[in-house]
Symmetry: C2
Subunit: 588 residues, 2 copies
Amino acid sequence: MNFKTYFPILDWGSRYNRQTFTSDLVAALIVTIMLIPQSLAYALLAGLPPEVGLYASILPLIAYAIFGTSSALAVGPVAVVSLMTATAVGRMAAEGTADYASAAIILALLSGAMLTLMGVLRLGFIANFLSHPVISGFITASGIIIATSQVGGLLGISTEGHALPGLLSSIIDNIGTINVYTVAIGALALGLLLWIRLDLKNWLARFGVPASIATVIVRAGPVLVVFLTMALAVLLDLGSKGVALVGDVPQGLPLLSLPSFSLDTIQQLLVPALIISVVGFVESISVAQTLAAKRRERISPNQELIGLGASNIAAGLGGGYPVTGGFARSVVNFDAGAATPAAGAFTAIGIAIATLLLTPFLAVLPKATLAATIVLAVLTLVDFSVLKRAWNYSKADFAAVAITLAGTLLLGVEVGIALGVGASILIFLYRSSKPHAAVVGQVPGTEHFRNVKRHQVETVPGILSIRIDESLYFANARYLEDLVTNLAAENPDLKDVVLMCSAVNFIDMSALESLEAVEHRLKDLGIRLHLSEVKGPVMDRLGETDFLRNLSGSTHLSQHQAIEAIRSARSAAGHDPDQKVHIQAVQQ
Amino acid sequence: MNFKTYFPILDWGSRYNRQTFTSDLVAALIVTIMLIPQSLAYALLAGLPPEVGLYASILPLIAYAIFGTSSALAVGPVAVVSLMTATAVGRMAAEGTADYASAAIILALLSGAMLTLMGVLRLGFIANFLSHPVISGFITASGIIIATSQVGGLLGISTEGHALPGLLSSIIDNIGTINVYTVAIGALALGLLLWIRLDLKNWLARFGVPASIATVIVRAGPVLVVFLTMALAVLLDLGSKGVALVGDVPQGLPLLSLPSFSLDTIQQLLVPALIISVVGFVESISVAQTLAAKRRERISPNQELIGLGASNIAAGLGGGYPVTGGFARSVVNFDAGAATPAAGAFTAIGIAIATLLLTPFLAVLPKATLAATIVLAVLTLVDFSVLKRAWNYSKADFAAVAITLAGTLLLGVEVGIALGVGASILIFLYRSSKPHAAVVGQVPGTEHFRNVKRHQVETVPGILSIRIDESLYFANARYLEDLVTNLAAENPDLKDVVLMCSAVNFIDMSALESLEAVEHRLKDLGIRLHLSEVKGPVMDRLGETDFLRNLSGSTHLSQHQAIEAIRSARSAAGHDPDQKVHIQAVQQ
């Protein structure tokens, strides 16, 4: 094996120079500033202490820098995976307990192991079964759930549940215990963050601040809000007024460690780990590919699996929780000019320093600030337009989106995505089980054959030409049997049937047996079966079968050759070869 | 709605005449003689008293004659469905108990209701998901299990279980309790039946017996064996020598009745009823279609569902158990000249008379005789050649057969078929998730485009033509993204990409979004995306989308037109249009 495929760092590392170093450093600085509040907030969303978010933003980034192939992907805690972690771990232990924290670590280790395995076994294609409609519906629903889950933090009331019904009812139940100070801090943070995102840049521009600097300030905005609200908490002694603060957190960096765990715990976390792995991978790979394409770079999906796998194992060893490539963060990293995965490593160092400096002060950070950060971050996830687009494009895809959306909102992330995947697979199977097929005739004066229902074409009496617009497999094999059998039953003076296979990409064994059945039935009626325009790979396979050996008719390179061959054979047999019937197209 | 579609009898009944009457009567007589021992035996296989087999051969045939569309299909108890009944009902009650019998009746009613519903809702396509490999593997495995389950009856020992391991171990456990008289009777019956099937016809021919009469005698053979062994049982007083006899059975015909049942019973039987319905339908429809085709007749799959549904409801009301169209019996019915479904009704009358005459004597019928009848009947089901054929044709199909075969033998009919269906769906999804696609070039001097790896073709520098040989949907959408993105990354001087869609039968929303992603990425690189040979239905759908509106390139009727258009556009832009590069085919 080639080391460079498994350790991309050996590849780009050998071409590393001062220039790439500088641009990586700049990007890392900006991403670090952006990542600090997010990592704290997402940890809270996952039901973990804020510092865990910082931990999950150190080692995983180093691991990805070694094994990852994308120069711009920024790995770390993300909203959706944090919610899924809370859902999975919440079933097994109460928030704040040691079991809860260690379950999150085990989840990261499991997901890391699965991703690595999928990468080594080249199983990246598994991710393909998360269709776009399912992902869109899932992300939107998750965004709504996450935002709702933070209402409690903004109002100073306690909520529970990881699906909409539970959350809403717990909000309503506790609405009486609102804390005005918390609401004030939450509103302030929310307002400031919103203003920073929407107006700050123009506002600075009015004061002649150059755009480049303005951008940096905007990115730093959320951190400033964090410091501001911390200051307020101290000055106004908000803690004593019932505002929930983060509280004391352990100093310094976590040591590499493995939690104690039981086989039972692992069994319970297997399925959630798998779902988190696939969802995280899909989210990550799509942003990585989009950014890579902009620079004509290539990323290897299977190596990405290994990269994310390593990151999650690192997250587990470093006292974190499941991570993946974040969308917003990666785009910032890209815009800031990250040139190699090293940018991620530098970000890790930045976060490590921040952790050392910040942890003493986190005690006085109001949770409402983090709630506000989350709400603002996930609002970008919510996008109902997909419903409309799906409706316009295809009702089937709309059904998939709607099922995933409703399922996730009402029953939670895991059931929701399972329903979505199941629905989209069934829809696809149903669709391909009723293949499009057309009786075709010759367009006068050409060698082209077209649907007799759509075009004015000529057909030869006694010859039936059927074009099949689908690969033939078990789900549509019987359909073909019915179609040909019924058409044959309708045409008593039929002598030859030609199957035009230009759009048949493979024929599985069920379809082969159906073709044999068709062949036998036609033979019983004294009708020959011919094939035309069979693709190379399909013909290679058919060549070895009795079906082709015993075929009553023959196979032809093109539909036109087939018709000509049959007609000349007939004239040889004394029939009139030239009789053609003009068919008026029956529009329908 | 048209009454004749739901009551086919109104159609053929109006054309009924003396001639069809005669041929129906003859066929009915032969089928009746054949059906008597089989119905007794299959009931025993289902763990029910033999007379229940007779009951299941009366009303269901009348019901099918009214609602069925096949003139030759002979409905009644069949081996595989009997085994499935035993499996399902055996979980809920002990053989011989009243609960067991009523559970079988409820199973028939449920399956009848499901089949009717599927027919009314036009859900016949559900049956398509039982692929040929799965059915073959399932039938063979069932045959083996059934034959093994009868060993006990032939040796006079008791066995239990509906999968191979349980059966074998119970045979080994009880091997000590063999009853020699039972073995003798069993061997005699088996030998006679075998001789009748293999030699009797020739033997009679030697005595100048005309073939037609010989055939009837051969068909009557099994009944004669029944009477012979009954006579022996009486003469030698086998009952007192430990030979298991059928024992007293209620006189006369059953009254229409409904068993008392609990919701719980129904819930437990829902899944088995569904599986029995689908398996029964598939078995029945395939033989019905094969026979119908021989006479250029048409059968309506959805009406067949209603016909079988009515039969099973009738079976439930008439004290029977699940029924379906039997293969061997239907062929006999067809050969004997059954002209309309009335033949089935006449058979029912024949069985009713037989029931009245036989039931007094059944008491002395050795069960070993029935066991022998079953063994001989199911040996025709066992066919391992499918394994070889599947192996030669496609390893994927082989996997489906092997999984179903092993699963059914080891884990029973229900788990086995579920595994098989799951496996074949996964195999299909995997196959279509890695679609065949080829970079194509122009065959010199023609308008044809072929795979550059298989043929010697010309390509125009800066133009990349990719032919996609698969419908585009979520499972392969990302594959397309990777393919085009990577090819683009490899060709720095690329200006135009043409997707040749001649084999693309539909594009689902995921694929559409992938195409948009491809379009954006290419645009970022200053590359235009073109489409060629897009099918009508696909184009209709794409027409309404932003993708087509914003397409950087254009769409062309044929690949050739696409290339010409691009080249002329270039020459207009001052490039040299005529440079072509000859590509030596790289065989691989």
